[in-house]
């Protein structure tokens, strides 16, 4: 399907988000469009009210002199008014650029400078302070608006406005500027930029991905229809607004379908709010599902013996029948009955506690999810599926249709998306959602997207025989070779390690080497709870990570992984020979991870070069000093002596090592 053919199926007047908003306000004026918990109560706005608010904001922006083609940066947590500010910016013909709110000032400076943002909309004082700090270097910023008034009274307001004030001025200027606003909305077309999103980028500087109205709206339409989304669905918007997924779910699909977006009260109340809202459509990275499961398991450990036995009995039952029931496969009457009883006693209450009872469709993506975790949710009857996507594709490349859900694939190409595998195994796609270009970066655009519109994902994968599902092995550039010519796929091994609740993060090294070694990060909540139950005292992450019994447990995990890796002939060389448990958690503030919590392999490799040398050397322990950045930006040093452990390896590789 070519890009223009795709737009033919959508009425031409629905070619922008403001146009969709107008349609929703006409069609479902009284349906809730947004909810936010404020002062302990869920406040809601209907589509008609939303339109009114967005209009006032857009007029306010006009009063402040926002031009067509201006870039408007938006920084803050998920709040209705910030979503509105994006649509309001679009209405006046400007381009919204949502930024990660936890970005440190220099990261922010780069992006603001790169897009030349004239306007910045901030959530609160903290963000305003960051922008003011950045303003010394970044000269393009002209007006700052903020949403939360707290602590802002003393600031110089000559070029600063409370969003509410701007809206009030906008309302007052309705007669003067109303016609101009109408004209600007009418001028929006398929090829105009809908949003610009900066990719966090595991390497190098972030790149601004330009997504047009066509990209966003057609993709939203296709994906909404794929999962039969409808008005009346509910989502919880809690993932960073700068992430493409949030834009697609909370703006694209929400405006296309007309469902309700719920914003949590604060980041820490997310799980409580999830429970109160009970969304029907839900997205979470594997990390969140993992955390939820860990919490459940920890709490079950503390439950009474009767409850614990009930839980384990029925969970066993669920594992057998749950996924089959979900996929609509035949199940015996006895099993069905047991499942129904389990639902009454265990699954129902559990789903209720987690806030997942009403879920019709849930997605996870971004990282591989552990088979046990995936199974757990599926067996409870939660329709958890996987999708594969990236910013450049407006999210969707492949996704799993209902009834064909498996842990080890990422599904079939999404509607309207073509996928092909290059000779070296790299996955390419072409779709109506394929991005226009990287902003001010024609070289990168050309190297990523060819003239025919095919985009290289940078991931290596293959289509499975028979089912036609795509399987992703690793980042194409991370797949390397061992010194003996064997395949080196670190992510594959790391994911296997990370499926253990005790292991939060793992980094495997071995490219061009004769064997593999690994860094491990323990999961503080899981290991901490274990320590508590076993009366083991510890005062810090570092101390816990260095305990002998913790290392023993991790060693067991590593050896289990080695055993399973040894089964795979191609990857048997990737078994871990030596490992150590790091003295600090890998952290985005120290540059070791991206803001979406993906490990930056090269940086970790450089930063901890001494540790890698030690792993390949023969020593049993190593003393190291690491610079860390605290949350307020100050730097400090962390000193530790780390123990290095040898792990048992299996199969042919073991024989070879023995021969040496």
């Amino acid at each position: 399907m070519s890009a223009t053919a795709a737009t033919n199926s959508v009425p031409a007047e629905l070619c922008s988000v403001p146009a969709l908003l107008a349609r929703n306000a006409r069609q479902y004026p009284l349906n809730p469009a947004y909810r936010e918990k404020e002062f302990g109560i869920w406040q809601s706005w209907t589509w008609a009210e939303t339109q009114d608010e967005v209009r006032a904001m857009a007029l306010g922006f006009l009063v402040l002199g926002m031009q067509q083609g201006d870039y408007v940066a938006i920084i803050g947590r998920n709040r209705p008014a910030l979503y509105w500010s994006m649509v309001a910016a679009q209405s006046v013909g400007a381009i919204p650029v949502p930024l990660y709110q936890d970005a440190v000032a220099e990261e922010m400076a780069y992006v603001l400078d790169h897009c030349g943002a004239r306007f910045v909309v901030c959530g609160d004082q903290e963000q305003v302070d960051k922008v003011l700090e950045v303003q010394e270097k970044v000269k393009c910023i002209e007006e700052i608006l903020y949403l939360d008034k707290r602590g802002m009274r003393k600031y110089d307001h000559t070029h600063m406005n409370w969003l509410e004030d701007a809206m009030r001025e906008g309302r007052a200027a309705e007669t003067r500027l109303g016609a101009e606003l109408e004209k600007r909305i009418a001028a929006l077309g398929w090829d105009d930029t809908c949003v610009m999103l900066y990719t966090s980028g595991t390497t190098g500087k972030p790149k601004g991905v330009v997504l047009s109205n066509r990209n966003i709206i057609i993709t939203s339409k296709n994906s909404s229809e794929f999962d039969h989304l409808k008005p009346g669905d509910e989502i919880l918007a809690y993932l960073p607004m700068a992430w493409v997924g949030d834009f697609i779910f909370a703006i694209g699909q929400a405006y296309w379908t007309g469902f309700c977006v719920n914003c949590p009260e604060s980041a820490q109340t997310m799980l409580t709010d999830l429970r109160e809202i009970g969304p029907t459509y839900y997205f979470a990275p594997p990390r969140i599902f993992e955390n939820m499961l860990t919490t459940v398991m920890i709490r079950m450990e503390d439950a009474s013996p009767l409850k614990r036995r009930l839980f384990h009995y029925f969970m066993e039952q669920a594992r057998k029948t749950g996924p089959k029931l979900l996929d609509g496969k035949p199940v015996g009457f006895g099993d069905k009955l047991k499942y129904a009883l389990g639902n009454l006693l265990v699954y129902g209450p559990l789903k209720d506690t987690l806030g997942l009872r009403r879920i019709r469709v849930a997605y996870t993506a971004g990282e591989a999810i552990g088979p046990e975790i995936f199974e757990f949710y599926r067996s409870l009857g939660i329709n958890l599926k996987q999708l594969y996507g990236q910013t450049e594709a407006s999210v969707f490349i492949t996704q799993q249709p209902d009834g064909e859900v498996r842990n080890d694939t990422v599904g079939v190409p999404s509607p309207g998306v073509e996928v092909r595998i290059a000779e070296n195994g790299e996955v390419f796609y072409r779709s109506p959602g394929t991005f226009e270009s990287y902003y001010k970066n024609p070289e990168s655009t050309a190297s990523t997207k060819d003239p025919e519109g095919w985009v290289a994902t940078g991931d290596a994968g293959f289509f499975e025989e028979g089912s036609g599902h795509l399987r992703i092995i690793d980042r194409a550039k991370d797949v390397g070779k061992m010194a003996d010519g064997g395949m080196f796929a670190p992510k594959y091994v790391e994911n296997k390690l990370k499926f253990f609740p005790n292991i939060l993060e793992a980094v495997v090294f071995g490219n061009d080497r004769d064997r593999c070694v690994a860094f491990i990060n323990i999961d503080l909540s899981a290991v901490g709870s274990w320590a508590e139950r076993n009366n083991i005292a510890y005062s810090s992450y570092q101390e816990l990570a260095g305990l002998k019994r913790v290392l023993d447990t991790i060693q067991e995990h590593v050896e289990t992984v080695n055993e399973s890796v040894a089964q795979d002939e191609m990857l048997a060389g990737c078994q871990i020979h030596r490992f150590l448990v790091l003295h600090k958690e890998l952290d985005a503030d120290d540059g070791e991870m991206t803001r979406t919590r993906k490990v930056r392999r090269r940086i970790v490799e450089e930063k901890f070069a001494d540790l890698i040398d030690a792993l390949y050397g023969g020593k049993d322990s190593i003393y190291t000093e690491t610079e860390v950045t605290y949350e307020d930006g100050r730097k400090g040093k962390l000193k530790a002596t780390l123990e290095i452990r040898d792990a048992r390896v299996f199969g042919q590789v073991a024989a070879k090592v023995a021969a040496q």
Binding site: G40, R150, G151, R153, S266
Partner: protein, 274 residues
């Protein structure tokens, strides 16, 4: 140099307007038996300012705070509050004067939720009688809603939404301190007394607390009197500082003035007698 003599107050370096005298303490002397805790101290507190009381251990700071709150009645001297000489009062009468405080050792109801704890701060805003309360009808219901609204605003302000329903006993120390501040704020005090609000906190918690104290002052224009040991905090936060040593006042003025005061340096650092 401040001009503290005019009735109209003064303007701080960051441009805040400080009003007239809210409370004046005149020649206060407080004794416990033979021990003289406070000896002939006079100073004033002005509307809208952040006033700090500092001094070494045992200088009589907390006693001073208790005198301000009306919990202790000094043997000599007088307290002029809102223009009137204050008589001896019972603690509940003190609370109704519009003076709220936090304690050096946290004094919350450990078994109750954060929300309930803060609601207790609204106690004297509730006028319904016991029967209305018991039936939760009419006035009682209306009042509870109004008070809950106020409390929710404070919860939002102090960013403690996530612990709204958590029993206080389960909270870490830093958060308990914040809840205590919330409870004091719930009373909508005209003068807020903070007894070592940052004792035992880590750097990050201290920074948060500083921000909250400044924001409270900014948002509600609450007059704040605080005792604090952390000199950095005191000098950053306060508009004027009283320095006490062995029950006597040895300094009074802006942080800069106090910093340069020789008596103060002597009390804090000691001087060699050679």
């Amino acid at each position: 140099m401040l001009d503290t003599n005019t009735e109209d107050g003064y303007t701080t370096a960051d441009g805040r307007k400080i009003g007239g005298v809210a409370m004046e303490l005149r020649n206060i002397t407080l004794r416990f038996g033979g021990v003289v805790a406070i000896k002939d101290i006079s100073f004033d507190i002005r509307w809208g300012e952040i006033r700090a009381i500092i001094g070494p251990n045992g200088a009589g700071k907390s006693s001073m705070l208790n005198v301000i709150s009306g919990f202790y009645h000094p043997q000599e001297g007088e307290v002029i509050y809102k223009g009137y000489r204050r008589p001896r009062m019972r603690p509940y009468q003190v609370a109704r004067q519009g003076i709220a405080r936090t304690f050096q050792n946290i004094a919350l109801f450990e078994g109750m939720s954060v929300l309930d704890n803060i609601m207790t701060g609204r106690l004297h805003h509730m006028k319904a009688n016991i029967f209305q309360q018991a039936l939760w009808w009419g006035k009682a219901q209306r009042e509870e809603q109004e008070n809950r609204e106020q409390v929710e605003k404070i919860i939002d302000f102090l960013e403690i939404q996530h612990i709204r329903k958590t029993p206080v006993a389960r909270l870490p120390y830093g958060l308990k301190k914040r809840v205590e501040l919330a409870r004091a704020l719930a009373a909508e005090p005209s003068i807020l007394l903070l007894d070592e609000p940052m004792a035992g906190m880590n750097v990050e918690e201290k920074e948060d607390m500083c921000r909250f104290i400044l924001d409270v002052n900014d948002e509600f224009n609450t007059t704040t009197v605080l005792i604090e040991h952390d000199m950095g905090v005191v000098m950053d936060l306060s508009d004027r500082v009283v320095v006490m040593d062995y029950g006597k006042k040895i300094g009074d003025g802006t942080p800069d003035e106090v910093r340069g005061n020789e008596e103060v340096i002597k009390a804090y650092l000691g001087v060699s007698h050679d």
